[in-house]
C-alpha cells in the first residue's frame, strides 16, 4: 500500500503490464460493488423496490427502451436541450466577443452576468414557466439561461487574455486593430470558447431536468418526477444512467471537437 508521501522516483516502478494498477483496482472495486448490490437487492436483504439490483436495472432498461417510453421522452428532452443550447452558443459567443473587445459594454452587463452566474439557476424555473408557459419553450429558455453564462464568461476571458505575443507580432508587421482582432484575438480565443461550451453542458442539463420536473407533459425530467413519487428504484436507476450517459457523451464529443479544432492549445 504505497502512500503518496513516497516520491514518484521512489515509488513502484511502472511495470510494463497491460493493465495499470489504477485500472485494476478500479475495476475490481466497481465489480465488488455491483456484486454486493446484486446480492443485497435480489435477495431482498434490503427492499428491492428501494434499491433495486443490477440485473433488474438492466431488464428495466430494456423494457423501457422497447416500450418506447424511454425513446419518446428522450427525444423530447433532446429537442428542448438543443433548442436552448444552440442559441446559447451563438448568442453567448457573440455577446462574449463584444464584451471582451469593449470593456465598457462588458461593464454595462456585468451585474446581470454575475447575478446569473452566482444564483442557483434552478430558482428561476417557476418564473420562467409562468412567463413562457408549460410547454417546450420554457424548458428551452431554462437551458439557454443556464448555458449562456459560462459561455459568455469564458469567451470574455478568452478574448481578453489572448497571448500578448501574438498581438505584438501582428502589430509589428503593421496590422491595424481590425486585423489584429481577426488574425490574433479571435483565433486565439477559440480554446477558451470551447472550454466554456463544455462547462455549460452540465448546467444546461440541470436546468432542463429541473424545468421538466417542475411541470411538463413529456421529457426525461418528467419521468424522473413521476418515478420519484413511487418506489420504483429500478426505473430511477435507468434514468440516472440515461442522464449521466447523455452528459458524458456530450462532454466527450465536445472534448474531441476541442482537440480537433485547436490541437495547438493543449501545449499550454
Amino acid at each position: 500500500m504505497a502512500i503518496a508521501t513516497e516520491l514518484p522516483a521512489e515509488a513502484a516502478q511502472p511495470r510494463r503490464s497491460l493493465v495499470s494498477a489504477r485500472t485494476a483496482v478500479g475495476v475490481a472495486a466497481v465489480a465488488l460493488f455491483l456484486a454486493a448490490w446484486q446480492i443485497v437487492g435480489a435477495n431482498e436483504i434490503v427492499r428491492s423496490d428501494l434499491i433495486s439490483y443490477p440485473s433488474e436495472v438492466a431488464q428495466t432498461l430494456i423494457q423501457m427502451a422497447a416500450s418506447g417510453e424511454l425513446g419518446a421522452n428522450a427525444i423530447v428532452s433532446l429537442q428542448e436541450f438543443l433548442q436552448g443550447f444552440i442559441p446559447a452558443i451563438l448568442i453567448g459567443v457573440a455577446a462574449g466577443t463584444a464584451f471582451g473587445l469593449s470593456a465598457r459594454l462588458h461593464a454595462l452587463f456585468e451585474p446581470l452576468i454575475v447575478m446569473l452566474n452566482t444564483s442557483p439557476i434552478i430558482a428561476f424555473v417557476p418564473v420562467v414557466v409562468v412567463w413562457f408557459g408549460v410547454g417546450t419553450q420554457s424548458k428551452a429558455i431554462m437551458v439557454f439561461l443556464a448555458a449562456v453564462i459560462p459561455i459568455v464568461i469564458n469567451t470574455v476571458t478568452g478574448i481578453t487574455e489572448v497571448h500578448e505575443s501574438w498581438v505584438r507580432a501582428c502589430r509589428a508587421f503593421g496590422a491595424k486593430q481590425p486585423q489584429v482582432i481577426a488574425k490574433a484575438i479571435l483565433p486565439g480565443a477559440l480554446p477558451a470558447v470551447m472550454v466554456g461550451i463544455r462547462l455549460s453542458v452540465g448546467r444546461a442539463v440541470v436546468g432542463l431536468i429541473a424545468a421538466e420536473m417542475y411541470v411538463s407533459v413529456r421529457g426525461i425530467g418528467r419521468l424522473i418526477q413521476v418515478y420519484s413519487t413511487s418506489d420504483r428504484a429500478a426505473e430511477i436507476f435507468v434514468l440516472v444512467t440515461v442522464v449521466s450517459s447523455f452528459g458524458f457523451l456530450m462532454v466527450t464529443l465536445l472534448r474531441r471537437i476541442e482537440t480537433w479544432l485547436a490541437p495547438w492549445s493543449l501545449e499550454r
Binding site: 504505497a2 502512500i3 503518496a4 508521501t5 516520491l7 522516483a9 494498477a21 489504477r22 483496482v25 478500479g26 475495476v27 472495486a29 460493488f33 428501494l50 470593456a103 465598457r104 461593464a107 454595462l108 456585468e110 451585474p111 446581470l112 452576468i113 454575475v114 447575478m115 452566482t118 444564483s119 442557483p120 439557476i121 434552478i122 430558482a123 424555473v125 417557476p126 418564473v127 409562468v130 476571458t157 481578453t160 487574455e161 462547462l199 452540465g202 448546467r203 442539463v205 440541470v206 431536468i209 429541473a210 420536473m213 424522473i224 418526477q225 418515478y227 420519484s228 413519487t229 420504483r232 428504484a233 430511477i236 436507476f237 434514468l239 440516472v240 442522464v243 449521466s244 452528459g247 462532454v251
Partner: protein, 268 residues
C-alpha cells in the same frame, strides 16, 4: 459536471483597462436601464403586468412580505439546511479526500465512483434520495450534501496530490517521519485547492438547497417560490427569488475574500 468553474472575480480582473469606478457606474446604469425598460413595458401594457410582473409591483411585494415577517421563517429554514448540508459535505469531503490523496489503494478503489458522481448531472440522483428519505428537511440536507460533497472531494484529492515532491524530500532529508511529512508539507500545500473546492461546493450547496426545497419540502425559500408560482402570484415569487440571488452573491463574495486572504497570507 463542472470542472474548474471560472469565478466572476477572475472575469473582473481581466478588464484592467476599465477603471474600477467607471465599471461600477456603468454597471449601475446598465441595471437601472434594464429595470426602467421593464417597468415601462409593463406600464405600457407591452407585457402583461399580472403575469410578468414589474419592478414596482415586486417592490411592493417585498415590503409586504418583510412586514408580515413570514419570509424570515423560510429564510431561517433555508439557511439551516444549507449550513448543515454544507458542513457535512466539508467534513466527509475533506476527510475522504485526504484519505484518498494519501493512500493510493483507497484512491484507486473509490475514484471510479467519485468520477461518476463528478461527471453526472447530480439532479438525476434526486429521485433516489426522495425514495430513500421521503420529503422534508432530511432530504433537502441530503441533496445539499451530495451536490457539494463531490466538488470538495475532487479538489481535496487534487490538492493533496499536488504537493511538490522536492518539499517532501526536504523534510525526509532532515529526518522527518511520514506523519511529519503529512502535517508539515502535504496538508498545508493542499489548502489552496481545498479552499477552491469549498468555494465551488458553496455554490453547489445552494443549488442543492433550492432543488430540495422546490420539489420535496414545504418550507424554505425554494418552496416559497413554487408556492407563489402555483398561486400565480408572480410579484411575490420574486421576493424569495431575489433573496436567493443575494445569498448567492454574498456567498461568492465571501469565497473571493477567503481566497484573497489566503493568497495574501501565503505570499503567493
Amino acid at each position: 459536471m463542472s470542472e474548474i468553474e471560472i469565478a466572476p472575480a477572475a472575469v473582473a480582473q481581466a478588464h484592467a483597462s476599465a477603471p474600477g469606478r467607471e465599471r461600477l457606474v456603468l454597471g449601475l446604469i446598465g441595471t437601472l436601464a434594464f429595470l426602467v425598460i421593464w417597468e415601462a413595458a409593463a406600464r405600457l401594457d407591452l407585457i402583461n403586468p399580472v403575469v410578468v410582473s414589474n419592478p414596482s409591483r415586486i417592490a411592493e411585494a417585498f415590503v409586504a412580505q418583510l412586514q408580515s415577517g413570514a419570509i424570515f421563517a423560510d429564510l431561517r429554514v433555508s439557511l439551516i439546511e444549507f449550513a448543515v448540508g454544507f458542513a457535512l459535505s466539508l467534513a466527509v469531503g475533506i476527510g475522504l479526500g485526504i484519505a484518498m490523496g494519501l493512500n493510493r489503494l483507497t484512491e484507486y478503489a473509490i475514484d471510479p465512483f467519485v468520477w461518476f458522481l463528478y461527471s453526472s448531472p447530480l439532479i438525476a440522483f434526486y429521485p433516489l434520495i426522495v425514495v430513500w428519505l421521503g420529503f422534508g428537511f432530511t432530504t433537502v440536507v441530503a441533496v445539499t450534501f451530495l451536490l457539494s460533497f463531490v466538488s470538495v472531494v475532487v479538489n481535496t484529492v487534487a490538492g493533496v496530490q499536488s504537493v511538490d515532491p522536492q518539499l517532501v524530500r526536504a523534510v525526509r532529508a532532515f529526518g522527518g517521519s511520514r506523519l511529519d511529512v503529512i502535517r508539515k508539507v502535504i496538508l498545508p500545500a493542499a489548502v489552496p485547492m481545498i479552499i477552491a473546492g469549498m468555494r465551488i461546493g458553496l455554490g453547489r450547496a445552494l443549488h442543492g438547497v433550492v432543488l430540495g426545497e422546490m420539489f420535496s419540502s414545504n418550507a424554505g425559500l425554494g418552496y416559497r417560490i413554487t408556492f407563489y408560482a402555483a398561486h400565480l402570484r408572480t410579484a411575490d415569487v420574486f421576493v424569495p427569488l431575489v433573496i436567493l440571488v443575494v445569498i448567492g452573491l454574498v456567498i461568492n463574495q465571501l469565497g473571493n475574500m477567503l481566497e484573497a486572504r489566503l493568497q495574501a497570507w501565503r505570499g503567493v
